[in-house]
């Protein structure tokens, strides 16, 4: 039988002495939210009570998954259906945790003793519902909103397939209401639970539901999407308010005939901000250190082949990545098998490995330097910020979900085994591992449970080089201050200091070296000159965004809030006099030769922001003026007519696009990740004649985009289309091939009567090799490599 896990009724009759509603045939599929609406007394609660088993049905069948409810045992039902009802319960002397633990009873033995796993699940459920902070308080002493969330936690940790809620928002104020509904919505999609609830608030029902079921007059009157059911005419009829003036209520109770308002999403966002601000004070994750220790003991007992060195920095952008990359290349050039490693990356910018897994770009560069194939183990945890507060969490290349920063902080200890596993795998296959830290090792407030800097160094027993950035000034406080703030054991791990980005003759710093060595009691391994190398940026802190001055050939990239994969445009740096500007407001637009809309982690959200900032109109104006516009991935989706997110993969909803390409996009729940090799199959407008040029790169996207009318295919494999001077493609790295880059720039330049010398332009890859070697050469001449080999424990 198929694995349907929702709930379904067939010709169900319900009621107390007589049928209240008959012939009910409804179905709730996993991950969907179905809402019952109808006037008081229409039988919504009776229906829900019948489904939970509180009332006996008066005929018909209820299916849980593919099983008939009446043939299931009490525990089987409990494992697949949980509920939150309106009845007020008054358990005396029962803590919230105990209330939630009842949710695990269907899974425990006769005595109801919870296993560690059960306890974890209880804790997770409470964290998910933000009730963890009062887990030891008595349930009877909570406010109604808190009680409701505790009961929701209980229902979640029951791990049901079906969640039934009766008026979950009654007694709650607006903030709790929003909070609770948003939780229900996200739980439904994250855990793939079928949610059936009754709601009185039509405005909310309309926006939260996938399907609305209207009951009244003893039958199910209408089932359909909110848009289909919540028409003014029908709602007025359902609640018997035909002709009643609705000024008092406003018109949010039914669909307007035109467009759906986005106000709810915004209000949700604001509420989320408020509540997460309020929670920011809560503290969690204490046990990390113990866990770390255990793990490290476990792992050091195992066999680990490779030598290891770790590069930590005094601050972000101190140059850790470059130093690590350079060392990788030096070791590789000298015949060692080298692999880079960074336990956790925070970057918008990800790369797809041959296995189709996602990893941070910085380790890709380092792997290229190490002359090895990038694999996801080099960067076991990748955080891609999706909003100011939250990130998409990717573990060993696979998305595990979206988390708020606080949630991640609480969960990160759970990822330690993954980190160790990844490291061990690399270590078994290589001679040397070059590990990169993140940020500064003395972010004292975050030191508990650190898994990126000293915590990691301890786990894998790595000697550490500490890199400071002299260009930004304060090299002495940077290095000496960091040493000072480390505890004794950690300080012992620091085997050398590196002064990075020194401008001018390194000899001039000799007296500085002496001071550092005297005061820091630590060897200075080298002074690295300032290098102006064009290497993939690590993260959005990049200085790249700051360039606002147009060059002779001007490329404008729309600076989306959730911009992803922006190294797509680094290859333009090869041209003299070419500028790549990141445009944030319409006044910054100017008159670019090429306008690029980059990929986004949040297409619909960014599209809305474009509309708000005026860039939306500006882009359309530029298109009318004939500016060449290329959309990559999310940017391509935005160029179309409409973007829909029916499964809430991003933020849900639907948004009209720029309408420059007659295509439409539906964001699916499956993420497509493939490496791409193809060619330009057709061109229109200014790029005409580029046909046949090879395209390499990769695709990462959730959506599918199809033309709404006949259209010229731009990149092969239906990955992109074009119309006039507007081009869209899903291929990241589209500009990497020299044929493409030369072709595009020279064609556009010619059409705008500019001359640009495109001959020295190389494939992005070839050019990179040159840069990497130069980097290695620079480092080798400025670092005491013998000493570095000695701390690695390699005798040459």
């Amino acid at each position: 039988m198929s694995e349907v896990r929702g709930i379904k009724t067939e010709n169900l009759n319900i009621g107390y002495g007589s049928d209240l509603i008959s012939d009910i045939c409804i179905e709730v599929q996993p991950g969907k939210v179905v809402t019952l609406i109808g006037p008081n007394g229409s039988g919504k609660t009776t229906l829900l009570k019948t489904l939970t088993g509180e009332l006996k049905s008066r005929g018909g069948v209820i299916y849980l998954g593919d099983r008939n409810r009446s043939e299931m045992s009490a525990y089987d039902i409990a494992r697949s259906l949980s509920m939150v009802m309106t009845e007020k319960i008054k358990p005396e002397l029962m803590t919230c945790r105990e209330v939630v633990e009842v949710g695990r009873y269907p899974y425990t033995g006769k005595l109801g003793i919870l296993s560690e796993e059960d306890k974890d699940k209880v804790r997770d459920a409470m964290e998910q519902t933000d009730t963890a902070s009062y887990s030891d308080s008595l349930f009877s002493e909570l406010s109604d909103g808190q009680k409701q969330r505790v009961l929701l936690a209980k229902a979640i940790c029951q791990e049901p397939d079906v969640l039934i809620l009766d008026e979950p928002t009654s007694y709650l104020d607006i903030r709790y209401k929003i909070d609770l509904l948003k939780k229900i919505r996200s739980i439904a999609s994250e855990k793939n639970i079928a949610v059936l609830m009754s709601l009185h608030e039509l405005d909310i029902a309309r926006k939260i539901s996938d399907v609305v079921v209207a009951v009244g007059d003893g039958k199910v009157l209408k089932i359909g999407t909110p848009r289909e059911v919540c028409t003014e005419e029908f709602i007025r009829k359902l609640y018997n308010i035909e002709g009643v003036e609705s000024e008092l209520l406003g018109d949010q109770y039914w669909e307007k005939n035109t467009d759906e308002p986005a106000s709810y999403q915004t209000s949700l966002k604001n509420a989320e901000k408020i509540s997460s601000d309020m929670r920011a004070g809560e503290k969690a994750g204490e046990n990390c250190n113990d866990r770390l220790k255990q793990e490290s003991e476990k792992s050091s007992a195992g066999s680990r082949g490779a030598k290891v060195i770790m590069i930590q920095g005094t601050m972000s952008n101190a140059g850790k990545s470059l130093v690590a990359a350079g060392l990788c290349r030096i070791f590789a050039n000298e015949g060692y098998k080298v692999a880079p490693f960074k336990s956790q990356n925070m970057a918008l910018n990800s790369y797809i490995t041959d296995e189709g897994l996602e990893m941070g770009r910085a380790q890709v560069v380092q792997a290229e330097c190490a002359k090895t194939r990038p694999v996801a183990e080099m960067n076991p945890i990748l955080l891609k910020p999706t909003s100011a507060m939250g990130s998409q969490v990717i573990v060993n290349g696979k998305v595990v979900g979206n988390m708020k920063a606080m949630d991640y902080f609480r969960h990160k200890k759970d990822y330690i085994p993954e980190i160790i596993k990844a490291y061990d795998k690399l270590s078994g296959e290589n001679d040397i591992i070059v590990v990169e830290g993140a940020g500064s090792p003395v972010e004292l407030n975050l030191k508990d449970g650190d898994i990126v800097n000293m915590g990691l160094a301890e786990m894998i027993d790595a000697p550490v080089l500490l890199v400071g950035d002299i260009d930004r000034g304060g090299i002495f406080p940077q290095l000496l201050g960091t040493l000072d703030l480390l505890n004794e054991d950690e300080r012992k791990r620091i085997k050398g200091l590196v002064v990075n980005k020194f401008r001018g003759d390194g000899k001039l710093f000799e007296s500085g070296i002496k001071i550092l060595e005297e005061k820091g009691k630590c060897k200075v391994v080298g002074v690295i000159p300032y290098m102006d190398l064009k290497i993939d940026d690590e993260d959005s802190l990049s200085e790249r965004f700051l360039n606002k001055k147009p060059g002779r050939f001007d490329v404008a990239v729309i600076r989306l809030r959730a911009i992803s994969n922006f190294t797509d445009f680094d290859t333009f740096d090869q041209f003299e006099e070419t500028s790549v500007r990141y445009v944030e407001t319409s006044s910054e637009m100017g008159d670019p030769d090429l306008l690029i809309i980059p990929g986004s982690k949040n297409t619909i959200g960014d599209l809305r922001e474009l509309k708000a900032s005026g860039l939306y109109d500006m882009i359309i104006r530029k298109a009318k003026e004939g500016t060449c516009i290329i959309g990559i991935c999310g940017g391509y989706q935005m160029l179309g007519e409409v973007v829909e997110d029916p499964y809430c993969s991003e933020i849900g909803g639907k948004e009209t696009g720029l309408g420059l390409l007659p295509v439409k996009t539906v964001i699916g729940s499956e993420k497509i990740r493939t490496v791409y090799t193809g060619e330009i199959t057709g061109t229109t407008g200014v790029l005409e004649g580029l046909n046949g040029a090879p395209v390499t790169g990769y695709e990462i996207h959730m959506g599918e985009t199809v033309p709404t009318k006949e259209l010229t295919e731009f990149t092969s494999g239906k990955t992109g289309y074009c119309l006039g001077n507007v081009y869209g493609t899903y291929v990241h790295g589209f500009f990497d091939k020299k044929e493409i880059l030369r072709g595009i720039v020279s064609k556009i330049a010619a059409s705008r009567s500019k001359t640009i010398n495109a001959d020295p332009v190389e494939d992005y890859k070839d050019r990179k090799e040159i840069v990497y070697d130069k980097l290695a050469e620079n480092l080798k001449s400025s670092l005491d490599m013998d000493y570095i080999y000695s701390i690695l424990g390699i005798n040459r």
Binding site: T52, G53, E54, S73, A74, Y75, I77, A78, R79, L81, S82, M83, M85, E87, I89, P91, E92, L93, M94, T95, E98, V99, V102, G103, Y105, P106, T108, K110, L111, G112, K154, Q158
Partner: protein
């Protein structure tokens, strides 16, 4: 509930039980010294002292220990069943029902010149308590108010007691003099044979109630959430009623009705443990019941020695204030 709190609680309780047990053996109309008691156990004392210790005081202390625990446990199960902290076997009339039935049986059997026997006592007490329980349940279906339920229970108890009094008054058999004493509630005259019987029954009840810890905990969230946690409600209710009635019946059969232990002790235990987890409150109530009963029996025997006061009077004096306090506190809550 913290672990530390329950460890302290149980340690204190066990010390109290041990202490009170020793005191109960020491105290009595014949004064026996501690060394005398040791001698008695070692078989070195004179026959009278040994008989006093081994056949009177020791069984009496053991009876207080076991029966007191049983009463408190019965009360806790009933409180869980009715989700009402002011019920117990005595206030619901269950004890009185058991008493009436035993009295009737005794008179009937004695009038035929036969002895009722221990099994007969237990069975008739159980029957009596179940009959009253059936009445109370019928009322509880009609009446949702906890207060009215308790008032009805007390009324039923009075009716049963009144009938018992009639029966005792008019049955003018010398054997029934015993019945009068018994019907007031007394731990005197319990021998080892009786102890074996009721200890076995009570231990079985204790074990059964330990097996329903999980559904009892879920039941605290109300029947709907309990059902949603997979609890077989009918089974839980049947077990709760049968076990609590059997416990109350057992106590009544051998010691007569002992008042208020079943209602007050679980409350004292809960509020000092600050939890209502069945897994902890069940053993804690049992021990608590033992302590209160040992203490009350010691008082009953010694305060007006050599005259013995009814143990029920002592427990009432000690525990009624607790019950009143609980009721007043509940008024505040709701």
């Amino acid at each position: 509930m913290s672990k530390k709190r329950s460890i302290i609680f149980f340690t204190i309780c066990i010390l109290l039980v041990a202490g009170l047990f020793a005191i109960n053996i020491l105290l009595g109309s014949t004064s026996v010294s501690l060394s005398g008691i040791m001698d008695a156990f070692a078989g070195r004392a004179d026959a009278t002292t040994e008989a006093i210790i081994k056949n009177i005081r020791l069984p009496r202390a053991v009876a207080a220990l076991v029966l007191g625990g049983a009463l408190a446990l019965s009360g806790y199960l009933l409180q869980t069943f009715f989700a009402n902290p002011i019920v117990g076997p005595y206030v619901l009339g269950v004890s009185s029902g058991a008493k009436l039935c035993v009295a009737l049986m005794m008179i009937y059997v004695l009038s035929r010149g036969r002895n009722i026997g221990l099994a007969g006592m237990v069975i008739s007490a159980f029957a009596g308590s179940l009959i009253v329980m059936a009445f109370v349940l019928a009322i509880s279906v009609k009446v949702k108010s906890m207060g009215i339920l308790v008032v009805c229970g007390i009324m039923i108890g009075y009716i049963c007691s009144a009938i018992t009094d009639f029966v005792v008054t008019f049955a003018d058999d010398s054997n029934i003099v015993n019945l009068h004493n018994w019907s007031m509630g007394s731990l005197s005259g319990i021998g080892w044979r009786e102890i074996k019987v009721f200890t076995a029954v009570i231990m079985i009840c204790l074990v059964i109630s330990l097996t329903i810890i999980k559904p009892m905990n879920a039941y605290r969230l109300g029947e709907n959430y309990a059902r949603n946690a997979g609890v077989n409600l009918r089974m839980l209710r049947v077990i709760l009623i049968l076990v609590s009635s059997l416990l109350a019946a057992c106590v009544t059969a051998f010691a007569g009705p002992i008042s208020f232990v079943g209602i007050a002790v679980p409350h004292l235990v809960r509020s000092s443990l600050k939890t209502d987890r069945a897994g902890i409150v069940i053993p804690a109530s049992f021990i608590g019941g033992s302590i209160v009963t040992l203490l009350s029996d010691a008082i009953a025997r010694t305060v007006f020695a050599p005259t013995e006061v009814s143990i029920s009077s002592v427990t009432a004096l000690l525990l009624v204030p607790v019950v009143i306090y609980v009721m007043m506190n509940r008024k505040k809550d709701h």
